[in-house]
Amino acid sequence: MLKARQLSFHFAPKVPLLQDISLTLCAGQWLGLSGDSGAGKSTLGQLLAGYLAPQAGDVTLDGEALPKSGVQPVQWLPQSPELAVNPRWRVGKILREAWTPSDTQCQAFGVQAKWLSRFPQSLSGGELQRVCVLRALAPGVRFLVADEISTMLDPITQVELWQALKREAEQRQLGVLVISHDTALLERLCPQRLHLSEGQLKPW
């Protein structure tokens, strides 16, 4: 169980972004998070994944602090896949950075074998996002923070990506925090949803 307790965070002193935020994400749970631009959704996602350290409060996994080394059980998937990959590496090397997915797993996410020898610049945003999602599903990963991962994709690619992720999450009982502006998408994917506004979480 991933638990955030009374998290507070600010980038500039006296301008709090998040105040006393608490949330729980269980294995296999899909939780939606919406909010206006600049509300702090991505910051909260990065706090949960251990990319940022809160000024107050803590994030625990099964009652313990997030590990400092090894494959992190909480993986963050950013909105822009082109920033999430080393532009000097070929796609095959990017994908194998943490683990080697099987052909079946590649097919499930629509990752084609011919992409592996290419550089990321020659792939579209949607193709690269599939690679990033598959890379994040390394063994040992238990929770995903999907930060607007389908915003820049066309509707068909969006559906394919979410379907593949849903199947994988069900099989492995992954907990997923879906961050999006798209309330219709959150309603379809997540039985529980939260709205972030003025540094506070509210259910909707």
Binding site: Y51, V71, Q75, P78, L83, A84, E97, A98, R135
Partner: protein, 266 residues
């Protein structure tokens, strides 16, 4: 065309500079002891068919001495620029380890940049007893700050790049991130930085030698040739200073052009 042109120019500069370097390296074997051979019947002979660039006060061929001097300057410049780049890269990497180390490296950079190059060069070369080794160390120790500043900023920016943070989250070690993600990104910066340092290193080596703090007067270094020429300039022996100076200028300009084209191309 806008993208191909800088690469074409860089390739052309690289080709010309490579030819120049190969010529200089080959000249070391081809010349043998010609730069030191004295002809007392042809002392201070002006440029002619027999003596292409003239001779010096001991009847030594100036073209052979200029070539040997340029080759010597090239090796000194290469080693000093390489050493300087390594110092810059190491300190930039150390600066990214913590805010305190970053402040310390920044202070070191600012301090060195605030002291005039030549004075520091003379002091270090003098303290080390002069000679080729002392010149290389002195030039290397004084020329790294500008490059270190660029590399430090680049590394700080890179460390915040999502793909670097994701790599750490995927369980990769600091060492893997450094050699897998960060260093390959810095190679073009280091290459251009070293090439930009090279002309400075050559000029400062020549200046140090000219002032008597650098290479030994027995070596046919450009600085030694120019210092010798000073004594004869008032006598109208212009070739003693003009040709070694021109050679030095051409080599420095060649490498300067190459580095500026490479900077645009990379």
């Amino acid at each position: 065309m806008s993208q191909a042109q800088p690469r074409l120019r860089a390739a052309f500069s690289l080709g010309v500079t490579a030819l120049l370097v190969m010529g200089l390296v080959a000249s070391q074997w081809l010349l043998g002891d010609s730069p030191q051979q004295m002809q007392f019947d042809a002392r201070l002979a002006p440029p002619s068919v027999d003596h292409w660039l003239g001779t010096d006060a001991l009847g030594r061929e100036l073209w052979a001495r200029t070539l040997a001097g340029l080759a010597l300057s090239f090796w000194v410049g290469c080693l000093a620029a390489l050493l300087s780049t390594l110092i810059a890269l190491s300190l930039a990497a150390i600066a990214t380890l913590s805010a305190r180390l970053d402040a310390l490296v920044s202070l070191l950079i600012d301090t060195l940049l605030s002291v005039p190059h030549l004075i520091l060069l003379m002091l270090i070369a003098f303290a080390l007893g002069g000679g080729t080794q002392a010149v290389i160390i002195a030039v290397a120790v004084t020329h790294w700050p500008s490059l270190a500043r660029v590399l430090r900023a680049e590394l700080w920016q890179l460390r915040q790049a999502p793909y670097v943070r994701i790599s750490r989250a995927l369980g990769k070690s600091r060492w893997f991130v450094l050699h897998g993600h960060l260093l390959p990104h810095l190679i073009p910066h280091c290459l251009v930085g070293a090439l930009l340092l090279f002309p400075h290193a050559i000029l400062h080596e020549a200046a140090l030698t000219f002032l008597g703090f650098g290479l030994s007067p027995s070596q046919p270094a450009i600085g030694v040739l120019l210092a010798d020429a000073m004594r004869y300039l008032s006598g109208g022996y212009w070739w003693l200073g003009v040709f070694p100076g021109l050679g030095l200028l051409l080599m420095v300009l060649g490498f300067e052009r190459l580095s500026s084209h490479l900077r645009r191309a990379l």
